[in-house]
């Protein structure tokens, strides 16, 4: 099934020295299946690599994943780097964002303050991320229905 979303490019990667790859592998697959053009940078991606890829592919969204508990440190100054590279994309972050047994609302605030447009916890289904992207990137509802109705 080919959708109009084919033109919508998103950059995806795991930041810092985090090597948890399974989540973005599943996400990549789901996003592609939903019609997005996915540039998967893989694990251990630096802030600069995210910015370069976003510029090179004119990405409309940058999806950052972090599982290993160093997300906060790894994302310090990330939005400044994106700005300097003139990246004007939605930024999402998801995964397991805090060390230890933290309260998620607190975590969400921390990452919103760092500049992320949306913050997802590790219970996030790929469908939720897709739905959010469709809303934020104004993919028309009929398209999104096409995506979720097929089973």
């Amino acid at each position: 099934m080919v959708l109009d979303t084919m033109s919508r490019t998103v950059v995806l990667g795991v930041i810092g020295s985090d090597a948890h790859v399974v989540g973005i592998t599943i996400l990549e697959q789901a996003l592609s299946a939903a019609g997005f053009d996915v540039v998967n940078l893989g694990v251990q991606t630096s802030q600069e690599e995210f910015a370069e890829a976003a510029v090179a592919h004119s990405a409309e969204a940058v999806l950052v994943s972090s599982l290993y508990g160093h997300a906060e440190q790894d994302c310090q100054g990330f939005h400044e780097v994106l700005e300097e590279a003139d990246v004007d994309a939605m930024t999402y972050i998801g995964g397991n964002l805090a060390v230890g047994q933290d309260d998620f609302e607190q975590t969400r605030e921390t990452f919103e303050e760092l500049g992320f447009d949306r913050v997802f916890d590790s219970e996030t289904d790929p469908e939720e991320a897709i739905a959010a992207l469709e809303r934020d990137l104004h993919v028309t509802t009929s398209e999104s229905e096409q995506v979720t109705v097929t089973s």
Partner: protein, 483 residues
């Protein structure tokens, strides 16, 4: 071009000097003094002896916090309240990247704020003295657990610091843990680690080495894990290591897990030199956990049950908070005690499950195929063979994030929940074995009335966290619903 050869003594000394200059604490290492320190330790802290002489599976948790006093307190708790038989010290991620400066910052911030700003214990920064304070404070033997591609300085400091067991290996701490380190590079670095462990061994301090069996922790077919364990065991043996614990991560199918642990011990004994004492470690489920402690306890218990039947030498336990993040010490101890209860209730029972021998036979045949191709790729040299086989894809690991592995092989569960290979890519395997996998997977596809596809793999990845073993279609569209 490196080969599977023992590093000569002078070369060992040269590298040792070099790497110890990488961080201030490296200078404190004095091999002779370290031997004396190890000799002063009571028998109950000799890791290899304690492990090898145990008459039932010993339990070990994972745990590491940045500050020394916190780490002592944490381990004391796990020892006293969790009744851990063996203790861990998990190293932080900056140390794993050899970023000792950043680790130092984190440690200092932790000391100032009291918060855990690192996800583990920065042993290099704590130095020999810090390590020994830890070793002295606890009764049980302690292992270094990390995930470091270049662990040379970590080994130099922790061995001299009194640790007698060291996890990892050139493949198992490369392929699942890092993107850019080449295999040739990590093998070379781990040859040093093993050679150093061998140097202690020669002097009577048998450092236990433990290749990391679960790899990516996610539906790794047993034979792939076992082949890599054997290779790492061989590399360590070449450098003089004499106590080797081969690892395996639970896949959740009891028959397959018991068969795999049996095969691991048998093939380990067979492939490794006689002078090596081979033991096994079983990791409770290393993939995604349910976001619910009650359900997580079920997953942990199934691991305990499997351990009671297979009786590995050691079990690495999970905590019910695995999904959420680094567990509290209470949750960590709870995982230990839940596991202990299941093992102790089941271990005296005679539980012989049908089909284990057949599954073991299949795993052994698969492993031999992989070992043969490794030897063939290297013209008999296991180092070269490993590098070439990963390069050609004849050896591969599912979901490998590393550029050194193709990561093209894809697993899926069969109708009984055993992990089979769905996408072989270039993995070397006899055709008749491939046919067996194919038949099992097509049986599952029939049961589910759907095609084999990546969606099946994705469903299987999520299954245990969703409360099942097999990722059956749920009626409603899941991942990949649009393809």
């Amino acid at each position: 071009m490196i080969r599977d050869e023992r590093i000569p003594s002078d070369e060992l000394r040269r590298i040792d000097d070099e790497i110890r200059s990488g961080w201030s604490t490296g200078g404190d290492v004095d091999f002779e003094e370290a031997i004396r320190y190890h000799e002063s330790l009571p028998a109950s802290k000799r890791f290899a002896d304690v492990l090898e002489s145990a008459d039932k599976p010993l339990l070990q948790p994972r745990a590491g916090v940045p500050r020394l006093d916190d780490q002592i307190e944490l381990l004391e708790y796990l020892q006293d309240d969790g009744k851990a038989d063996l203790l861990p010290t998990t190293i932080d991620s900056y140390t794993r990247d050899n970023e000792y400066g950043k680790a130092q910052e984190g440690l200092e911030k932790a000391r100032e704020t009291g918060e855990d700003t690192l996800n583990g214990f920065p042993a290099v920064n704590h130095g020999i003295e810090g390590c020994r304070e830890l070793i002295d404070a606890l009764d049980a033997p302690i292992e270094v657990r990390h995930g470091t591609p270049d662990a040379r300085l970590l080994a130099a400091i922790t061995f001299a610091g009194g640790f007698q067991s060291f996890e990892g290996g050139p493949i198992s701490y490369n392929i699942p843990y890092t993107k850019r380190h080449g295999l040739e590079e990590t093998i070379e670095k781990w040859q040093f680690v093993d050679r150093l462990a061998g140097a202690y061994t020669e002097r009577g301090v048998r450092i236990n080495r433990e290749p990391f069996g679960p790899l990516t922790g996610t539906l790794v077919p047993p034979s792939i894990a076992i082949a890599i364990m054997i290779v790492e065991g061989q590399l360590a043996a070449t450098q003089g290591v004499r106590s080797i614990t081969l690892g395996y991560g639970q896949v959740g199918n009891v028959v397959q897990d018991v068969a795999a642990l049996n095969a691991l011990q048998k093939l380990g004994d067979e492939y490794l030199p006689d002078e090596v004492c081979v033991t096994t470690v079983f990791h409770e489920w290393m993939g995604g956990f349910p976001p619910d402690e009650a359900r997580a306890n079920g997953v942990i218990s199934l691991g305990g049950m499997t351990a009671a039947i297979a009786q590995p030498d050691k079990v690495i336990t999970k905590s019910p908070q695995e999904f959420q993040g680094v567990p509290t010490k209470e949750a960590n101890a709870a995982g230990l005690r839940t596991t202990r209860q299941v093992i102790d209730m089941a271990i005296e029972q005679n539980i012989d499950i049908d089909g284990i021998a057949e599954e073991q036979d299949l795993i052994e045949r698969e492993t031999r195929c992989l070992m043969d191709t490794i030897f063939a790729h290297g013209d008999g040299d296991v180092v070269r063979g490993t590098i070439e086989a990963f390069d050609s894809g004849a050896l591969d690991v599912p979901f490998a994030p590393s550029d050194s592995a193709k990561g093209a092989v894809l697993p899926a569960r069969d109708d009984d929940g055993r992990v089979r290979i769905f996408e072989w890519a270039d993995l070397e395997m006899d055709d008749d074995i491939k046919e067996i996998h194919k038949a099992r997977l097509s049986q599952r596809a029939d049961t589910e009335g759907r095609e084999e596809s990546f969606r099946m793999v994705a469903d299987d990845v999520d299954a245990i966290s969703d409360g099942k073993l097999i990722g059956r279609p749920q009626g409603k569209g899941g991942v990949g619903s649009a393809d």
